[in-house]
């Protein structure tokens, strides 16, 4: 059990965004989180990564309490994320974006950077090479020196994944990585997620693309109106009457 959420609730100004959500993530699995828009999925990621604290409940990672830790500390511990609305450092190059991701695993400070000490140059070289490897892995290989904001949409999503991987996470949280992608791109994404799993990482995936979720996930959780309404293998979820109701109900309304 690496990541454990215990009875986690969050409300904004009296409105409950999440109530009593509990789940566990096991090492090496791919977990999908699905649910209608506004169900509280992204709020869940924000709670885990320390962007805001839960109103109640406990979040632990490898037995360590994550409550009250600032986001960068959470990332240092080994949880990295991507954002639903892409948040790259737009005017930096893709390469620099990924190198920023390596920040918490590198050390050189102002002094070493100023004099380019041998240790700094070695670290910089290793960081760059690793960043290039990651860019290759996610398939962003052209234009790696022009601003990231000029990349096509699908590439930007992939670049975010590379940036998150550069923090050397054990768990990577992907927030709707397939949003805005076409079928081919989504298929590539599926392979990429599988590849990340084979690198020994755990993946938590928020996604609306049911095809992707059902194909890639080992386990799926369904959230509706801030509550977890179902959990199981993709096959079980597809049969679950509560889930069908949540989705059909939404389409009627």
């Amino acid at each position: 059990m690496t990541l454990v959420l215990d009875q986690v609730s969050k409300s904004f100004g009296g409105l409950a965004a999440l109530s009593n959500v509990s789940f566990k993530v096991t090492e090496g699995e791919i977990v999908g989180i699905i649910g209608p828009n506004g169900a509280g999925k992204t709020t869940l990621f924000n709670l885990i990564t320390g962007i805001f604290p839960p109103t109640a409940g406990k979040i632990t990672y490898q037995g360590k309490d994550l409550l009250g830790l600032r986001p960068y500390k959470v990332t240092e511990l080994g949880l990295a994320r991507t954002f639903q609305n892409i948040r790259l450092f737009g005017h930096l190059s893709p390469l620099d974006n990924v190198m920023v991701g390596a920040h918490c695993r590198t050390k050189a400070g102002v002094w070493k950077g100023l004099w380019r000490t041998p240790a700094q140059r070695k670290e910089e070289k290793a960081t760059r090479e690793r960043a290039q490897t990651l860019l290759k892995l996610v398939g962003v290989e052209e234009d790696i020196d022009s601003p990231a904001s000029s990349l096509p949409y699908g590439q930007q999503r992939r670049l975010e994944i590379a940036r998150a991987l550069a923090t050397e996470p054990e768990i990577i949280l992907l927030d709707e990585p397939a949003a805005g992608m076409n079928e081919n791109e989504t298929d590539d994404l599926r392979l990429l997620i599988k590849k990340i799993q084979t690198m020994g990482k755990t993946v938590v995936l928020i996604e609306h693309d049911m095809n992707l979720v059902m194909n890639v996930c080992d386990r799926v959780m369904v959230i509706n109106f801030g509550q977890m309404i179902a959990e199981g293998t993709p096959a079980e979820i597809q049969q679950n009457p509560l889930v069908i109701e949540a989705y059909l109900g939404r389409e009627e309304g």
């Binding site: 005017h91 695993r105 950077g113």
Partner: protein, 313 residues
């Protein structure tokens, strides 16, 4: 030769250099997307610390100037720590208030000599010319008077400091710390989520900016013989801010160019000196509306590079 090297031109060149150093100071703070309105305050801490050390305690200038810078930097950490945990607006207000308080304190303390200011500060120029004559330099050396030679040497020192600062900034930009700065400027919360301790780096950039402002203050105290509270009023801060707004704050060269233009322009337009601040104000508004990135931005550099056919490398 004498025409070009007359004392007036040399003096202006010296001011250009000091202002360019101040431009670097605001550039550093802005490189994390933070606006400091306390640069004049930090300058005055540097200037007063330095002047008091040399005039009243007999410290050598080369020691007093860095000490002044460090004093300003320490002060910036005290101000910056609480303000930088919050969003950018708080730093602007806290530093604006800080600048005013420094002014009030300087006006009231005995050691700063109140509104009268400190005079009789040994200038770098006189120090150097004394040194030169003690080496037995003749009154005319290569067609230059001792005064000219010493001002030229002062200018050389300032150029060296500026070159070092530019070197520092360029190196910094291409390092881990510089990337962290750029990431914070682009998107603070995303940077934090990528494992960057944003408070630490914002404070670092702010303290470096204050350090350089303090050093510039110390230098200016030893260039003008006299300092008073009026030298470091809010308008000075606005002027420094304008270097970055006009020149651009993407690259370290932006504020330096801004400082150059805004130091030379008032000299050329002496007749309009009453309207200088009005022009500055209008310039700030116009730049924000039409070219918020300033004259020199990353795109400008990219554009000219490709135009000059060096775009590939």
């Amino acid at each position: 030769m004498d025409m070009l090297l007359n004392q007036y031109y040399l003096q202006i060149a010296v001011f250009v250099m000091v202002n360019a150093i101040l431009g670097v100071s605001i550039y550093l703070t802005l490189s994390t997307g933070q606006l400091s309105l306390g640069n004049a305050g930090f300058m005055s801490i540097g200037a007063y610390t330095c002047a008091i050390l040399t005039v009243k305690a007999g410290f050598p200038v080369y020691l007093a100037i860095p000490i002044g810078g460090i004093a300003a930097s320490l002060m910036s950490i005290i101000i910056g720590f609480p303000a930088l945990r919050l969003t950018g607006i708080y730093l602007a207000i806290a530093t604006l208030g800080f600048g005013e308080v420094v002014r009030v304190i300087v006006l009231n303390l005995k050691i700063t000599n109140g509104a009268l200011g400190i005079s009789g500060i040994p200038t770098l120029g006189t120090k150097i010319s004394k040194m030169l004559s003690s080496f037995g330099l003749p009154q005319k050396f290569g067609g230059l008077s001792v005064q000219q030679t010493s001002t030229l040497l002062v200018l050389l020192i300032l150029v060296l400091i500026l070159v070092f600062l530019v070197f520092f900034c360029v190196r910094l930009n291409r390092s881990r710390v510089g990337r962290a700065f750029a990431a914070i400027k682009a998107d603070e919360s995303a940077a934090e989520a990528m494992g960057i301790n944003t408070t630490y780096y914002k404070l670092l950039a702010f303290a470096l900016g204050a350090l350089i402002a303090g050093i510039a203050g110390g230098l200016s105290a030893h260039l003008t013989f006299f300092i008073g509270p009026k030298d470091f009023a809010y308008h000075r801060t606005v002027e420094i801010l304008l270097y970055a707004v006009l020149g651009g704050s993407d690259l370290v060269f932006g504020p330096i160019v801004g400082a150059l233009i805004l130091t030379l322009l008032p000299e050329l337009l002496r007749s309009a000196s009453n309207y200088r601040l009005m022009i500055y104000g209008a310039l700030l508004v116009t730049m924000m509306a039409f070219r918020p990135q300033g004259l020199i931005s990353e795109e400008t550099v990219r554009f000219w590079k490709s135009k000059l056919g060096r775009g590939s490398k």
